[in-house]
């Protein structure tokens, strides 16, 4: 029977907890969700000398209060699931603040092991840390690690195994002054007689009550003894107690550090010097804009050769398959349907992967925090938050991981607003529609038109945010309290892992939803309309008015006529709901030209569509309901269908109105002929 140990991994954000987690678990990890909430949970396994360790990655937190979902998850896990060992990853270059979390973990009475990470950076600065003294002071094992290189991980595993067999822990390494200790003692005595609170460490519960922790106070109110407890708290001058307790924790930390560290903080750090340029009053914004532009340029330039390769491959694959299969409808299903559909999604993979790589590099280096710092003023004017910036930028690649990235936004209202407006950011899937239509109708101005569409998306996103913040989602502004971590040279490995994690999400979308959607499109296009005696999936039926699609399209036609669209466009748009990449493919089917884009372009230019309607269609595609995958993710991240449906209705209405105005006003004033 193998010994099993559960290990919870905690730590402040930006300490390299992810590298340590990866170094411990390697590829043996999987991602899920914390039960009942929409926060990501990473778990992994590691065998070490016959012991099976299950590692749970808790959200990065600065403290264990009740004010943020991440913190509640972390402390609830520790209290309720009672992991065998808690490992706190600490940034060795930032001990003082990191140890604040340590004080709270120790009050929780957990078996703690400290992974002192990034010790190489400490040495590089010429500083030193006396680990032995630190261990004596904290009465907790401290292991030096360099997560990004995998150094110290074996030692860490050894220590975890050893610590597991320890029987006694000292909850009172961190003590407060007499007044506070006495009050805690008094409360503790009342609590010990209350069976309802036996699952909570007494000392920790008492301290939280004195601190004014809302979550804990709510729990305490459930007991009859609460009035007596309340009296003790009032008597203790609770208003200032919160400050006092925080202050005393930091004082104790400082005393310890005086004996443990040798820090040369006199000279200006590398980070400070770099920031003098990057967040400079005059240079900051131009540099930021250049970096953003460079990221997109690199993405599109380097991706193009790969995109061409993929296009050629899928074209060849479709052709070969069709030739090899003698059954007409099967050939059609595979060639026109599945291969073409999947290809349409995969073709954007290089693009998206590169964009995510750029973003990962910016995050891992620490620059993203500066981006939020620089952009916050602008974002807050629209009711958003500097932290909303990064998820929104990710939307240019794909809205799905962008919406998932909003997890870093602590305030639920801000997060919700960001989620709801993120789909207006023009994603990679809409690009084929722009390329086709702008290319057909605007010739050499195509680039400009496409840029304008991107800009429109951003504009609608921020204005919608303002609208939401002033109506449906009114509320207090969230505080902007953000650490600016020191710059670190990102490891290629780390950034590639990040990039791949997001790319996987995009691929799953291709593999799953789009495949289903494409087959659905194909079916509807192949099934003859009622009363039509032609054969299923035959040339006569496929994609014509004589198929089911045709019937649906004609029903919808009145709705889209004011926009300058015909029934074929209506159908293409419906299929675009599955995945926007499909719009072009569907149009190809419906206009009878299959995969040949040049022919499609020619047909449209020849009069199947007016330039004005073309413009309207691009705007409609930009704004209307995000794809299936997106809706599903909105539902998951917001926890209900209510908001997903709201987004659907809001965005589609907006799209209709814009396209309507463009076509109607344009026709009357003779724009674009």
């Amino acid at each position: 029977m193998t010994e099993k140990i559960t290990v919870a991994l905690t730590g402040n954000p930006n300490v390299g907890k992810t590298s340590v987690f990866n170094a411990i678990t390697g590829s043996k990890q999987h991602v899920g969700n914390w039960p009942g909430v929409t926060v990501e949970r990473k778990m992994g396994k590691r065998m070490h000398n016959g012991v099976e360790m299950q590692i749970v990655d808790l959200p990065g937190t600065y403290s264990l209060t009740a004010y943020s979902l991440d913190e509640i998850i972390a402390r609830d896990f520790i209290i309720e699931e009672k992991p065998d060992i808690v490992v706190q990853v600490i940034d060795a270059t930032n001990l003082e603040r990191n140890l604040y979390l340590t004080t709270q973990l120790m009050e929780l009475g957990v078996k703690l092991v400290i992974a002192l990470n990034m010790t190489d950076l400490v040495l590089a600065k010429g500083d030193s840390i006396d680990i032995v003294t630190m261990q004596e002071f904290l009465e907790v094992p401290v292991v030096s690690t360099i997560g990004s290189k995998g150094d110290g991980i074996e030692d860490l595993m050894d220590v975890i195994k050893k610590e597991h067999h320890k029987t006694r822990i000292n909850e009172t390494v961190f003590t407060y002054d007499k007044k506070i200790e006495d009050k805690a003692e008094e409360i503790g005595q009342i609590l010990d007689n209350e069976p309802g609170f036996s699952q909570y460490p007494t000392r920790w519960f008492s301290m939280k009550l004195l601190e004014g922790d809302e979550n804990i106070i709510k729990k305490a109110k459930e007991s009859d003894s609460y009035p007596r407890i309340e009296n003790i708290i009032i008597d203790a001058d609770a208003e200032n107690l919160e400050s006092e307790i925080a202050d005393q924790r930091y004082r104790t930390i400082k005393t310890m550090l005086g004996q443990v560290c040798d820090i040369n903080s006199v000279h200006l750090s590398g980070t400070d010097m770099v920031d003098r340029v990057l967040t400079n009053k005059l240079l900051g914004i131009p540099i930021f804009l250049s970096l953003m532009w460079a990221a997109f340029e690199i993405t599109f330039t380097f991706a193009t050769p790969f995109m061409n390769l993929i296009e050629i491959f899928f074209g060849w694959l479709a052709q070969t398959t069709v030739n090899a299969i003698s059954i007409p409808w099967l050939a059609s299903l595979l060639g026109d349907g599945i291969i073409a559909g999947v290809g349409a999604v995969l073709i954007f993979l290089p693009n998206i992967l590169l964009l995510f790589l750029m973003i990962s590099l910016m995050e891992d280096s620490g620059y993203m925090a500066r981006a939020a710092f620089i952009m916050d003023k602008v974002m807050s004017k629209f009711g958003l938050h500097g932290k909303s910036f990064i998820p929104l930028v990710m939307g240019f690649g794909c809205n799905v991981p962008a919406i998932m990235a909003t997890r870093t936004i602590e305030d639920s209202r801000n997060r919700l607003v960001t989620i709801l407006v993120a789909p207006f950011i023009s994603c990679g899937a809409r690009l084929p529609v722009y390329v086709l239509l702008a290319g057909t109708f605007f010739g050499k101005d195509a680039g400009l038109v496409i840029f304008a569409l991107y800009a429109l998306g951003i504009l609608v996103a921020v204005l919608s945010a303002t609208l939401l913040r002033n109506t449906v989602l009114k509320g207090e502004d969230t505080p902007f309290i953000m650490e600016l971590p020191s710059y670190k040279i990102p490891t290629l490995k780390g950034s590639l892992i990040h990039m791949w994690e997001r790319g996987k999400i995009y691929l799953k979308k291709a593999g799953g939803i789009i495949l289903i959607g494409v087959v659905a499109v194909w079916l509807l296009a192949s099934i003859p309309a009622p009363g039509n005696s032609a054969t299923f999936a035959s040339e006569e039926v496929y994609g014509t008015a004589g198929s089911l699609i045709g019937v649906i399209g004609h029903i919808l036609q009145p709705l889209v006529e004011p926009l300058g669209f015909d029934w074929k466009i209506a159908v293409a748009l419906i299929f675009g709901v599955v995945a926007k990449e499909i719009v072009v493919g569907s149009m190809g089917v419906l206009y009878g030209v299959g995969e040949n884009e040049e022919s499609l372009s020619a047909i449209l230019a020849a009069g199947a569509m007016t330039p004005l309607a073309g413009l309207g269609l691009m705007v409609f595609t930009l704004l209307y309901v995000p794809c299936f995958a997106c809706i599903a993710v909105i539902k998951r991240e917001t926890g209900s269908w209510k908001w997903a449906m709201f987004q659907l209705v809001y965005s589609t209405s907006l799209a209709w109105i814009f396209a309507f105005v463009i076509y109607q006003v344009g026709s009357r004033t003779g724009l674009l002929a």
């Binding site: 600065y62 403290s63 209060t65 004010y67 270059t93 930032n94 001990l95 003082e96 603040r97 604040y100 004014g212 809302e214 919160e242 400050s243 925080a246 202050d247 930091y250 820090i263 903080s265 980070t271 400070d272 920031d275 967040t279 400079n280 009053k281 005059l282 900051g284 914004i285 710092f373 620089i374 916050d376 003023k377 602008v378 807050s380 500097g386 207090e476 502004d477 505080p479 902007f480 309290i481 953000m482 650490e483 600016l484 971590p485 020191s486």
Partner: protein
């Protein structure tokens, strides 16, 4: 709103070198006296180390004027002026 200092920054309640953090110019060092403000932001501010007695260096304002970057306890923290307004400090040196 409860707990925030009044708009008039020159009330008799503040001593001469006591100010709220949002009024401190870059390249100045201060010491925290008291943290006021709403429960959740006060809590977060204290947790991040802005406890009474802590020395804080004002580094710079963002290019658009807000938020502001501070250095304390060996690391860099940014706050909006709105949050900084809830922190009472005195200038050192």
């Amino acid at each position: 709103m409860l707990g925030l200092p009044t708009k008039n920054k020159h009330t008799k309640d503040y001593k001469m070198n006591e100010k709220t953090l949002d009024l401190i110019e870059p390249d100045t060092s201060v010491r925290v006296l008291k943290v006021n403000g709403l429960k959740s932001s006060k809590r977060r501010i204290l947790d991040m180390g802005l406890t009474p007695g802590t020395r804080v260096d004002v580094i710079r304002r963002a290019p658009l004027g807000d938020p502001v970057e501070f250095k304390l306890k060996g690391y860099n923290l940014s706050l909006r002026r709105k949050e900084a307004e809830t922190i009472l400090v005195e200038i050192v040196e």
